[in-house]
Symmetry: C2
Subunit: 378 residues, 2 copies
């Protein structure tokens, strides 16, 4: 069975609906992947995630390698068993984290030497290690080690990093073929880097396509570059990528960015925004964002979003959520995180419906009309 | 219909099973009441509490008066509606909190003047205010303002505080009769104070019985007094209290204290221990306490308690819970709190079964044999 199948193509845009097949279940695309960096989508249980219709979650190989350690997870069988999540899991390699969190980093063509951001212990990770780690985690979709540069980066350094990312992708593919049999049902993606340089992005895409990955991720975005530039890169990269493979925009983004990127042909998204904003007391609604701690909500007995079917909206008012945040009660962080994850997954559902019905442009217009029409009293 | 009915009496001890009838549901006794001071049992949702078979929860009039304010709750109708809990609620008056948390406290016979521990604003609360507040909260069982003294307290001051508590009880009863009709289905308890002085406790009990409350609470315990003294007070107070009214031991305690106190005739308990310990990563099991953060659990793939049917034990290992605590993930606080509340409620269920079957002494013996037999490897 194919790993990915395009089921429908919007007539006006590059948006498409598809389906990913994994050992742990199917994933309808375009999809949003809630982020569980350390083996838990922050504040939420697997039961909460199922209730919000999460199809797949993401975890991070770098974080799990440092804590609790891969041996622990290997002993119980897999990451899914360790965290009690029976659905599909995508693990990020941790390339981005090594380049943003780790201390005293030393990058060579061989791999990366760094100090753990937790205890300062030194580690050396190679593309091969990272594949082995993800084999042990048993995740369904795995990512190669890549070098993620920040914005702005000189063309010279961006070229070095892009070439290294390509070479690491080649070694990851080789390691994957050697260590992992197809019976493992783990699918390796290629990650497109190249900073903001169109020619480097193109070189990277072509090199990756030649190696034939199961899917292609757009990395190195949302690292400080202007939004126009980001969407320009997404647009031309999507045009170069093959039609029959899923396209995954890593770490992006806000609801409006997701709607925009779907129209350019992106199939998969992950982002910490719904849970991070949730813990800060910011809720997403079809009318825009709500900062629940704010005084106007103190006697507002409406749910966060009147059209939302999540546990939070079916049971609690803005006034109660505001009280929980003011009283520094953990239940508040959880209820708003749950709502936000539900909102994101519901947004994806509506996006898929719109594409299937060939009315994505109409949906997009309606979404922006409503989402940006922020009532100052909300 | 009677508010309380004794259904069975243990043949060997003073333990008994009973049933409390409220507008929002029945409560089988002996019962444990999870504490939701600020309108949430910390980290847990109403759905979690129902899943753990909670029959009733407790909240605090003093805390809710300060934040979010009674007006907010009155506007939505009741505390139950505000927090989305449709079962019975007991509200504590906040007497204990005013005497432990509030700043610059000034007690007179009229009432208590104090500064809020949150924002320093000055408030004056009387027994009548406190009844009015609880009427507005719409709780099923309400408590009068009392003066709770710490240990040790001189006999002279204890006498003043006891007399004041009695006078405040009288005024509370009067206010309750005036402001609240029986159609409100709110039941007022009397609180026995008297510090560690047997004669003062006796005076207080007799005074309260003369006023005929719906139930009687033992206050001013677990405030620093030796355990033997505490149980001595519980024992003689229970003997003085009427058979046909529920006896409520406020703020106590650990599982072993509950088992002990049930044997002396206590029907109701509340305590922050299961959730506070849960947030500190200490879990209660039938074999004793487990500190999940400890290293021996790093590769322990057993549930917290093999005999437990809670969501945590059915889905997660000690190794995963340890990881969550080490990684400072909120899900850990929640999963151990949930287990602990479930453990307490399950303990009460087993206590009720044992009493019903006239084998409470046997149960108690088995409980202590097993609970204190702490395996250092656990």
């Amino acid at each position: 069975m194919d790993f990915f199948k395009v089921i429908g193509q919007d007539k006006d845009t590059y948006a498409r609906v598809g389906r990913i097949f994994t050992l742990h279940g199917q994933i309808e695309t375009p999809c949003f992947i809630p982020v569980g960096t350390q083996g838990t989508v922050k504040t939420l249980s697997p039961h909460d995630l199922k209730g919000a219709s999460a199809q797949i979650i993401l975890s991070n190989a770098y974080h799990l390698f440092l804590r609790p350690g891969i041996d622990v997870i290997k002993k119980i069988g897999s990451l899914g068993r360790f965290i009690s999540w029976d659905g599909p899991i995508l693990t990020d390699s941790g390339g981005y984290q090594i380049f943003s969190l780790a201390l005293l980093r030393k990058v060579t063509d061989e791999g990366v030497e760094f100090q753990s951001h937790i205890d300062g212990l030194r580690h050396f990770l190679t593309p091969e290690n990272i594949i082995k780690i993800q084999k042990d985690l048993g995740s369904d979709i795995i990512m190669p080690l890549d070098e993620c540069v920040h914005y702005p980066t000189s063309r010279d350094y961006a070229e070095v990093a892009t070439k290294r990312t390509l070479e690491w992708a080649r070694r990851s593919k080789l390691a994957s073929s050697n260590y992992l049999g197809t019976e493992d049902h783990q699918y390796l993606f290629g990650i497109v880097q190249g900073a903001t340089y169109e020619d480097l992005r193109k070189v990277c895409v072509r090199g990756l396509i030649d190696m034939n990955f199961s899917g292609y991720a757009l990395g190195g975005l949302s690292v400080g570059e202007p939004k126009d530039l980001r969407f320009n890169i997404i647009e031309f990269t999507c045009r170069w990528l093959p039609q029959d493979k899923p396209r995954y925009l890593m770490g992006v983004g806000l609801p409006e960015e997701i709607v925009e990127a779907v129209g350019l042909g992106i199939d998969m998204f992950d982002c910490v925004v719904p849970t991070r904003y949730g813990r800060n007391g910011t809720a997403f609604t079809w009318e825009g964002k709500i900062i629940v701690r704010n005084a106007p909500y103190s006697e507002d007995f409406r749910p966060l979003d009147k059209d939302c079917g999540c546990y939070t909206c079916k049971n609690f008012t803005r006034a109660y959520l505001r009280h929980l945040f003011n009283a520094e009660e953990i239940l508040g962080l959880r209820l708003v995180s749950l709502h936000n994850v539900y909102f994101y997954l519901n947004l994806m559902q509506k996006i898929r419906e719109a594409i299937s019905q060939n009315r994505f442009l109409e949906f997009k217009k309606e979404f922006f009309n409503r989402y940006h029409n922020l009532d100052p009293n909300l």
